[in-house]
């Protein structure tokens, strides 16, 4: 689920030690530092921005509300955060993280070079820097040399959730259910797409969500898209996507609301049921796709899915798509979705949140079946 980036995150983002204590982060950093040493790296730069800060938050608990931020992680032990905003904002920024050493992001190439100090010249690894702005990347590379991306090694470490993390994804999924119920009730009660989406956001916040994002069709059966205009049309079918965040962890889903039903919805629900049945540790993306395809035929896949039926989810809305050759990993949480598009606006998307255990999958949330 891709959402329109908001200009300023305003919810509760202060680090709460009673939710994710420091030892949780120390465990993560120990695993990361082992990977750094295996790769021969002296340090790691972890990037995040307001639109995607999953890797940054994983190491620091920090949410970058104002511009980009970098965590500088030494292979040997020290750590520094460079965050957006002026010097005056540093005390506020420190509320968001367990990291003691927090400095402004301004003049970042020099700050990174200064921090590296004697380590400069060694291999500097990078995580989440694929979204680093060209202008900033160029400056850092000029100051400290090329960065070695380690996403392929570190992403799987992040995908495997701890018991605390799993609990937070479960809580987010519960709130997702409440939000979806409000959206469906509003739409069935005659609300327009915008009003129904707002009802979902209000319900999510009231239930304790840190953030809630919604997308909805602009035309009957259309892809769920940002509601950035004044229109508030009553649509049938209405396809709506909701994402809910709790203590950094996301749950996301899509529902189809239709009074007239439609063949596409029936096919989509059957396809989702088949995917859930196929979901287990080690199941491939291809197996899930095949399970869905058998039930969807002769409908084509809804364009809004962009060809992706499953992605890992957690501190990022998308912790990586499940490609055909990839397998569902024990300890990871996933968002599954499937949709069909037919003629004359007959379209549907349904979805589920699942957690993969050592022996099977548990469903954290699923789209309610059509009446």
């Amino acid at each position: 689920m891709k959402v329109l980036q908001t200009t300023l995150l305003t919810g509760p983002y202060d680090w709460e030690a009673n939710v994710l204590p420091r030892e949780e982060f120390e465990g993560r950093l120990a695993r990361i530092r082992t990977a750094l040493k295996d790769a021969g790296a002296v340090a790691l730069l972890v990037h995040g921005h307001a639109g995607d800060y999953g890797a940054l938050n994983y190491v620091s608990a920090f949410t970058p509300k104002l511009g980009p931020a970098l965590a500088l992680v030494s292979a040997e032990g020290d750590m520094r955060l460079l965050v957006g905003g002026s010097d005056l904002m540093i005390p506020q920024a420190k509320r968001l993280t367990w990291v003691d050493d927090v400095q402004p992001f301004a003049n970042v190439p020099k700050r990174v070079a200064d921090w590296l100090g004697a380590k400069k010249g060694g291999t500097v690894a990078a995580w989440g820097t694929g979204s680093l702005a060209h202008g900033i990347q160029r400056g850092i590379a000029a100051a400290v040399g090329p960065l070695q991306p380690m996403d392929a090694i570190l992403d799987p470490i992040r995908r495997r959730k701890s018991p605390r993390e799993l609990q937070l994804v479960r809580r987010a999924s519960e709130i997702l259910g409440s939000a979806m119920s409000s959206l469906i009730a509003a739409a069935r009660g005659g609300a327009g797409a915008r009003s129904a989406a707002l009802a979902a956001e209000c319900a999510a916040i009231a239930a304790g969500a840190q953030d809630a994002r919604t997308l909805a069709s602009l035309s009957p059966g259309g892809a769920p898209l940002p509601l950035d205009g004044p229109e508030d049309r009553v649509l049938d079918p209405l396809l709506a996507a909701v994402a809910v965040q709790v203590a950094g962890y996301w749950a996301a889903g899509t529902v189809t609301v239709s009074k007239r039903g439609g063949a596409a919805l029936g096919r989509a629900e059957a396809a989702l049921a088949a995917m859930l049945e196929a979901a287990r540790p080690g199941a491939t993306g291809a197996a899930l796709r095949q399970a869905a395809a058998q039930k969807l035929a002769p409908f084509s896949l809804h364009l809004a899915l962009n060809g992706t039926l499953c992605n890992a989810i957690g501190l990022s809305l998308d912790e990586g798509p499940l490609a055909d050759a990839d397998t569902l990993e024990p300890g990871a949480t996933y968002a599954l979705r499937v949709g069909a598009a037919g003629e004359g606006g007959d379209a549907a998307i349904v979805s589920a949140m699942i957690a993969i255990g050592d022996t099977g999958a548990s469903v954290l949330w699923t789209s309610p079946r059509s009446p």
Partner: protein, 372 residues
């Protein structure tokens, strides 16, 4: 001014600089406080990275990602030829090749904001020697369009209603962040599509910050920048609220910063440099004995332009010599630390008219208070 007029201004500069093709790029990091040239020229906030291509003959292409966002792009900009894709760089390369765009005659704007792997692919199409046109585009397109100004008026009305709602809702014990989220939901219910709502409270603050878990307490001075967006146009008002009855000194000093703001707004007229607006604010505060506080860290700037496309005319600051033009839009806010009270906010959105400045709000800043 309409969007065609805006593009005409760019075309004239392209011709003067022998540029045949301008590629404006957006990283889709939409913000009130950052320039986004593709959004500015296209009038569309993309879901993923996007490009707006302006050819010397005046024809345009808007390339949006992901492909499924096509419906929204066409709905919002029916007059524009939209190309929806999942591979921005490849589609851009194809468009440039089809139109015979020549390396050496192309310019870019917004390239530095793109994720660097994408920027590298774009550079392969436009050429490493493509002219950076960022400053030029912002300079010649500083005035807002009629559509943006109409949206700014709606956003200003939403901001004022948001402030009234805050006065009705806020109470001691409420966490800043919970209040901020409630205000965002409220402004969204009024039609806002986003809100840069920076708000914090302390008995004696040194600035304004994004909201934290701190609960409001009696004796706090709450400062907030209400900045809803309507139709993609952000508009800001700045307000201050006493939690509990305000002290006499707080009321007195707030009246001073409001007078400073009024002086700044009175200085607004076409042809005057931006620095004159800042100077007028500083003069009032200096006359009151706060000359030493008219510089960082006691203040940052006396206002600024508002995106989400262009921040022109930039910061309202002593070193900004940009001459004001009709239909420029910016917030005038003294936003000043005073030793007796801490940081105080007051600010109004101002449009430059043919003869002066027009504030978009119905009621100017006055010190608010909530029961405690």
């Amino acid at each position: 001014m309409n969007r065609t007029d805006r593009l005409e201004r760019v075309l004239r500069r392209m011709e003067a600089d022998k540029i045949d093709t301008l590629v404006a790029l957006s990283a889709a990091r939409h913000s009130m406080a950052r320039n986004d040239p593709a959004t500015h020229l296209a009038g569309f906030r993309s879901l993923g990275e996007s490009a707006f291509v302006l050819f010397g003959d005046g024809t345009v292409r808007l390339i949006v990602t992901p492909a499924y966002d096509e419906e929204r792009a066409v709905m919002r900009r029916p007059e524009t030829m939209v190309i929806a894709t999942d591979d921005l760089a490849a589609s851009l390369a194809r468009v440039l090749a089809e139109r015979g765009a020549k390396v050496g005659r192309m310019a870019t704007t917004g390239l530095g904001s793109l994720p660097y792997p994408l920027a590298a692919r774009v550079l392969a199409s436009v050429g490493a020697d493509a002219v950076a046109f960022d400053d030029v585009v912002l300079a010649v397109t500083a005035p807002k369009t009629d559509e943006e100004l109409a949206n700014a008026r709606k956003a200003a009305a939403i901001a004022e209603r948001g402030f009234a709602e805050l006065l009705a809702t806020a109470r001691p014990g409420m966490r800043e962040c919970d209040l901020a989220v409630q205000m965002n939901l409220f402004t969204k219910s009024l039609g806002a599509d986003d809100n840069f709502f920076m708000m914090s409270a302390l008995p004696h603050g040194y600035g304004v910050a994004a909201s934290s878990h701190r609960p409001l307490q009696k004796g706090d001075v709450l400062v907030g920048e209400f900045t809803p967006s309507y139709g993609g146009q952000f508009t800001q008002i700045c307000r201050t609220v006493s939690v509990g009855a305000p002290s006499n000194v707080l009321a007195e000093k707030y009246a001073l910063v409001v007078r400073a703001m009024e002086a700044g707004i009175a200085a607004v007229r076409p042809g005057v440099p931006v620095s004159a607006v800042c100077g007028a604010i500083d003069a009032v505060l200096t006359d009151a004995g706060y000359g030493d506080y008219c510089r960082p860290p006691h203040m940052k700037r006396r206002g600024h332009g508002m995106g989400s496309g262009s921040m022109a005319p930039g910061d309202i600051a002593v070193d900004n010599q940009t001459p004001l033009e009709p239909d420029m839009l910016f917030v005038v806010h003294p936003n000043q630390y005073l030793p007796e009270t801490g940081y105080l906010l007051c600010g109004e959105p101002v449009r430059v008219t043919a003869t002066g400045g027009e504030t978009l709000t119905k009621r100017w800043a006055a010190l608010g208070s909530i029961e405690a």
